[in-house]
Amino acid sequence: MSDPYNSEIDGYHEPTADELAARKKRNFAIAACLFGFVIFVFLLMMYKLGVFA
């Protein structure tokens, strides 16, 4: 079995337009989820602290 940490990449794969488009969509989705999570935690904290009471 080859060692994944020492194996050399024997070339370069030029990403296709579809692959780049899929990666872009994933990046946007990850960014949106992280932003949503931050807002979620922030709002919960505000509620728990009674800011909206």
Partner: protein, 322 residues
């Protein structure tokens, strides 16, 4: 970076998976049932909850259910590839790598449990964590490939959400939340075995010991009928708790009567019988029986939504003294 090994040599290619594939990993149809039953638990709990915190709790429960679904798909990727029902899922379809699915499932699990502990309380968060553990470890890894009782015991994973919702609202663990748990637990075997009766070839191909493959179709049909009766009894018991009302009793009685009639038709049918060497008349009986099993499977989904819908409606009507 996420990669898929569909390229030549050892040069990794970028994945073509989109957000929709990650959504599919979360088993949206199962998630909708989990969300609905958890909402019913939350609505029926004796203590009220701030609507924003309630919405946040439901979101976390949905995320937890989705995480469990993703972990299940990660572990079952080998058998999913051979079953017609599951071979188009993102992993067997080659759209994602197993490691990315595992990471997604683990991260979602942690985020959902942490989020619920913030939005609701530690008991609800603990129950959600246990539900994910139970579905992934107890059902998927331990029981699913070992025993025909897999969905009988494993069905508890799908039965926890109303308890989580109830606990999230601050209701703790009470006899009412346990009965809600029992109703889904007892509903699961007839629901899945009805499906297994006309899909047993698929399960057999994947080596999953579903009841029709192991004990035979005749025994399965009888057990479906027995579970339908026990399920009706548990619904009758629910009427004796604080969740019972005349409206509930009328609707639940009708729903359970229909369930028992359909289960009886399956029991008296030839659904799932071996068709090898059968004459035309016997073959017709098997096909007709499979129709009865399909009817029960479809009805069982409507049944659960309607039953929990009426439980929630009765509770809301009682709260508003209508």
């Amino acid at each position: 970076m996420e990669t898929v090994q569909h390229n030549t040599g050892n040069v990794p290619a970028l994945s073509l998976a989109g957000p929709g594939d990650y959504y599919a990993l979360m088993k949206p149809r199962v998630m909708s049932l989990v969300v609905f039953t958890a909402m019913v638990g939350l609505i029926c709990a004796p203590s009220s909850m701030n609507p924003v915190l309630a919405a946040a709790s439901i979101l976390c429960i949905a995320a937890g259910a989705g995480a469990a679904g993703a972990l299940n798909m990660w572990y079952d990727r080998d058998i999913d590839a051979v079953m017609s029902r599951t071979k188009k899922r993102p992993l067997p379809a080659g759209k994602m790598t197993p490691s990315s699915v595992l990471a997604f499932g683990v991260i979602m699990s942690m985020v959902s449990v942490f989020g619920l502990s913030m939005a609701a309380n530690y008991l609800a968060a603990g129950l959600l964590a246990f539900t994910i553990f139970y579905y992934f470890v107890v059902y998927t890894i331990w029981l699913k490939r070992r025993t025909p009782q897999n969905i009988v015991i494993g069905g508890a994973a799908g039965a926890f959400p109303p308890m989580v919702g109830w606990a999230a609202a601050g209701g703790g663990i009470t006899s009412e939340s346990l009965v809600l748990f029992a109703v889904i637990l007892l509903w699961t075997p007839p629901h899945f075995w009805a499906l297994a009766l006309y899909k047993q070839g698929d399960y057999g191909k994947a080596g999953i010991p579903m009841m029709p493959n192991v004990k035979g179709a005749k025994s399965t049909r009888l057990q479906i009928f027995i579970y339908a009766i026990i399920l009706a009894a548990s619904c009758a018991y629910l009427a004796t708790t604080s969740l019972g009302s005349p409206l509930y009793m009328a609707v639940a009685g009708l729903l359970n009567f229909t369930f028992i009639v359909l289960a009886f038709k399956v029991w008296r049918s030839n659904a799932g019988d071996d068709v090898m060497g059968l004459d035309e008349a016997s073959l017709y009986k098997v096909k007709s029986g499979e129709k009865a099993a399909r009817n029960l499977f479809a009805y069982s989904i409507i049944y659960l939504f309607a039953l929990f819908g009426i439980i929630a409606s009765s509770s809301l009507l009682a709260n508003f003294s209508i």
